[in-house]
Amino acid sequence: GGSDDGGSGSSGGGGSDDLTMGFAQVGAESGWRTANTKSVQAAAKEAGIDLKFSDAQQKQENQIKAIRSYIQQRVDVIAFSPVVETGWDTVLQEAKRAKIPVILTDRAIDSDDTSLYETFLGSDFVVEGQKAGQWVVDNAETNDVDKDGTINVVEITGTTGAAPAIDRKSGFEDKISSDPSIKIIASQTGDFTRDGGKKVMEAFLKSKKGIDVVYAHNDDEGLGAIEAIEAAGKKPGVDIKIVTVDAVKDGMTALSEGRINYIVECNPLLGPQLMDLAKKVAAGEDVPERVETKETAFDQQQAKKVLADRQY
Amino acid sequence: MTGVSVTFPGVKALQSVGLTLRAGEVHALMGENGAGKSTLVKALTGVYAIDAGTIVVGGEPRTFTSPAESQAAGISTVYQEVNLCTNLTVAENMLLGREPRSFGRIDTRTMNRRAGIVLTRLGLDIDPRSRLGEHPIAIQQLVAIARAVDIEADLLILDEPTSSLDADEVEKLFAVIRTLRNEGTAIVFVSHFLDQVFEISDRMTVLRNGQLVGEYVTAETSRLELVRAMIGRELETLERIERQAEEKDVVEAGEPLLQVVQLGRKGSVEAVDLSVFDGEVIGVAGLLGSGRTELARLLFGADAADTGTVSVKGRRTRLRTPRNAIDHSIAFSSEDRRAEGVIGDLSIADNMILALQASRGWLRPVNAGTKERLVRSYIEALDIRPPDPQALMRNLSGGNQQKVLLARWLITDPELLILDEPTRGIDIGAKAQIQQLVTDLAGRGVAVVFISAELEEVLRLSDRLVVMRDRHKIDERVNDDVSVSDVLEIIAGEVRADA
């Protein structure tokens, strides 16, 4: 091994007295994650931080191993996106003992001991679900495509058990419970993939009547659902409304073309903010306990405007 | 046991057969290939469930549902095909399930020592710690026997234990059997060697087509009677062959079909010179482990030689894989039929046609009509039972499998046929047929290399004799009235000269 690919760029600034950061990424399971990784790598180069990157292939134990090895290698800051909320106490204790500050990105951890990490940088999946739900509620009128007084929602969930899937589901349910005319008539996992979304939607279209809205946990599932809807001879975005989460480029394109109705953003470009925090933390400065990324939501009009400068 | 029946889908392997065994007596079980001997053994020991009938042991009716149960009831068995684990050591194989233990752990030292003692008793000089798979099939058979003998049982069943042993080993086995008999053990002995049966048994039961023919007292029965009981017809064939073999004379002229010079392989056979001419039968004699099989494998390219040269019909060539040899019309029937011959889950027809098909390549299948004709004709010629081309190979009796494998090679129409123990486990009728076949083939110009543990057979058939010892070729001579004792002398003489 040992071949070095162009994209990783470790020794941006060069000097050995630079700040070294160990970053334990979850994996590369989606385009979103890849954009996230790239943002971190690019920002590190920009900021002259020596980045040690490792990919855990969706396994928490690999992340723990990576963090351990960062401790061994005495990096200055450790940052990671936890695969799950739980189970970090032991290794973070070790980091604390070694006096290496830790920054969480993308997702918080569930620990009673908040001294284990300096700060959290990321978004809140529950809020994302709520935004999607709020949109359905707010546009109840137009969303009731068949005008029968009830809005039948089919939900294509993410990977069963995955944190975003759980939170986006509960956030969504939270909001739509306020309106008794909105009902989830079917919910099935599409594993966050286009293929999954398409297959699940195909089955829904055949077994469920009067579908008004599709709520997909990410853009890819939504894009898959679009294919299925078109194959059934219906117009996505018109005959059936679609709301998704993420706002990746393909999703935004579909949104601007009117095939998706609403996308809640989940911003992967955490790199610059992360590097800022890292420098502060390393310098011993105080940082807020929680830094939320700037995130918005797009409807079709807004999508057209921002599409051009969408990078991922 | 009385009235025992066993049915397989489509075959009534045993119909209402009875067998009475007495302590301190050797009971021979006789019958042609496929008569049901092995099935009877397996029914008796709980491998097959019986459809009807009763088994009474020591006055008590018993039904065994597994070999473990029959073993616990004092029955120790060597089944026809060597049923040991080649991945374990010799000692482990002998004592599996009965390992000596101290403080709950297996006492390996005692185990090896105990195994060594039993092996010595059978005249086997091998390391109990060596892996069983390293040894040739004959040694494995002896180890299986050693295992059975070591289980101090009331009843010892040996299904064709001597099929790959030579005279020496057989004598040692018989000595052990006699001792056990005198100690009061009942022994069932299955064999196709009439000499051995007459030498060792007290009583015989004959089966034919799954049915009981009768029980005979050995001392009061003549060979002819026995053979007639077994096959239901007279046996003239044997004599006819002897005559033919004597009449034939081969001219060793011109180019040899196959010539090897200094052919050898490290750790197997050392530098052998050999020329084989058309229409000639070369017998290879030697004691167990003398390297006959290894020589045959080198000639066929089953193992690649690392020294020496090979020429076929005067042209230099290399035999690195069986394919090379087959392309030169050389055929080889292995001694280890279960591991190296039988394709158990394919039909008789597919098994027979395999070598021919392989040499034609997959794109040119043997056409269905030709295949049917070939298969049928060999089933008939070799009297294979059941005569159903679609029967699965693994359901055939041992002897019939051997016949199918012979047919596999005959179908390829070879110019040189290497037969390693082709008559193992074959009944006397079939044996005569095969010997006849070898003679016929030679008459038609096919060269045959014939290896057998049975020296008489080798001598009867061969035109030229090669004698091996300790992986060397120590002698080669034209077979004009060489006798068994001559050969033994050659082997022994060399040993003395050596030491």
Binding site: D5, T34, T37, G87, D89, T90 | C85, R131
Partner: protein
């Protein structure tokens, strides 16, 4: 080997005997090859990366892979009989789930441990019974077992559950200090103990020898009158037990139960066993080899994290390439010996 003459034989026999005692038996060759390559890999890592061969890094191989060693031990037993157990990863997840949820419900730690071990063993028992008595292929039965265990996880909860029980947390935080400032965790001791018991059991008990016999030839073992049924079912119970024990170690390691834990870990376990020189056909291999296999996989991981410059896909490719280099060299090694 030996000739037939007693005189010549006596001399040669004893000489070869003595030689034989010095050279290791042939069945150890694959394991020795694995061990040699493992050391070679560490050396290569040490040359390439600073601090790679520091004792703690090597100890961390054990600390971080204790559960995998336990898992590989169970898997080895199954594979030695010629079977396979795909359910182990899911059973690990199920065990973490059962442990976390029962602890949350307030069960005492000892009871939880017993319950987890019992449930894993029972699942193994069920699979073993189906495999043996219904003669369904192990691959399929354990695949169903894998689905079943994963499904049960979701049934318990789809969210992760933290473990806050003091016994578990103290076990998790506890370290055993070694001279020189190095440390290991109690889990390492558990794993080494399991390894030792398995090695002893496989070589020193009838059950163990029967495992090898069944793997060599099930039919022969049956005809030899061995307890084939008990052995075949037994190895799945052992594997189930080991999986749930590994699950406990894992839940200590993670201090959480989660239904997506240990996805694909069965492949790691199988790979470790095969890398350790065990034949998938059964009948040949050593548990010690499997433990070495785990360490080899761990070393590959360590390579990756020490490098720190590999993007996600290069990580996968590098793992594949290292695996390849390893199995090819090992193969050439063992082939020359054979």
């Amino acid at each position: 080997m030996s000739a037939h003459t007693p005189t010549a034989d006596d001399l040669r026999g004893s000489a070869t005997d003595r030689l034989r005692q010095l050279t290791p038996p042939r069945r150890f060759y694959p394991v020795l090859a694995t061990a040699a390559l493992f050391v070679g890999m560490l050396g290569a890592g040490g040359i390439r990366y600073e601090g790679f061969t520091s004792p703690q890094v090597i100890l961390n191989l054990l600390v971080d892979n204790a559960f995998l060693i336990v898992l590989a031990v169970g898997m080895t037993c199954v594979i030695l009989t010629g079977g396979i157990d795909l359910s182990v990863g899911s059973v690990v997840a199920l065990s973490t789930m059962v442990a976390a949820s029962t602890l949350r419900a307030g069960w005492p730690a000892a009871l939880v441990v017993v319950a987890v071990l019992l449930s894993g063993s029972v699942l193994g028992l069920l699979m073993g019974l189906v495999i043996h008595y219904f003669e369904i292929q192990p691959f399929i039965v354990t695949l169903a077992g894998m689905f079943l265990a994963r499904g049960l996880c979701y049934l318990i909860s789809i969210e992760s559950i933290p473990i806050k029980d003091p016994t578990f947390t103290s076990f998790a935080m506890g370290t055993i200090d070694l001279p020189g400032g190095y440390f290991i965790t109690p889990a390492v001791l558990v794993a080494l103990f399991v390894l030792a018991v398995a090695a002893w059991g496989l070589h020193m008990t009838r059950f163990g020898r029967t495992v090898y016999a069944v793997g060599g030839s099930e039919q022969s073992a049956l005809l030899m009158g061995l307890a084939v049924a008990r052995t075949k079912v037994g190895v799945y119970v052992i594997s189930g037990f080991c999986s749930s024990l590994a699950g406990l170690l894992f839940s200590v390691y993670m201090l959480s139960g989660y239904s997506l834990h240990a996805v694909g870990m069965e492949l790691d376990a199988i790979a470790a066993v095969v890398i350790g020189g065990t034949l998938l056909a059964g009948g040949s291999g050593l548990v010690l080899g499997s433990a070495l296999g785990v360490l080899v996989l761990g070393t590959i991981q360590t390579f990756i994290s020490f490098d720190g410059n590999l993007s996600s896909w290069w990580t996968k490719i590098t793992i594949g390439v290292l695996l390849l280099v390893f199995v090819v060299i090992q193969r050439l090694f063992t082939r020359r010996q054979a």
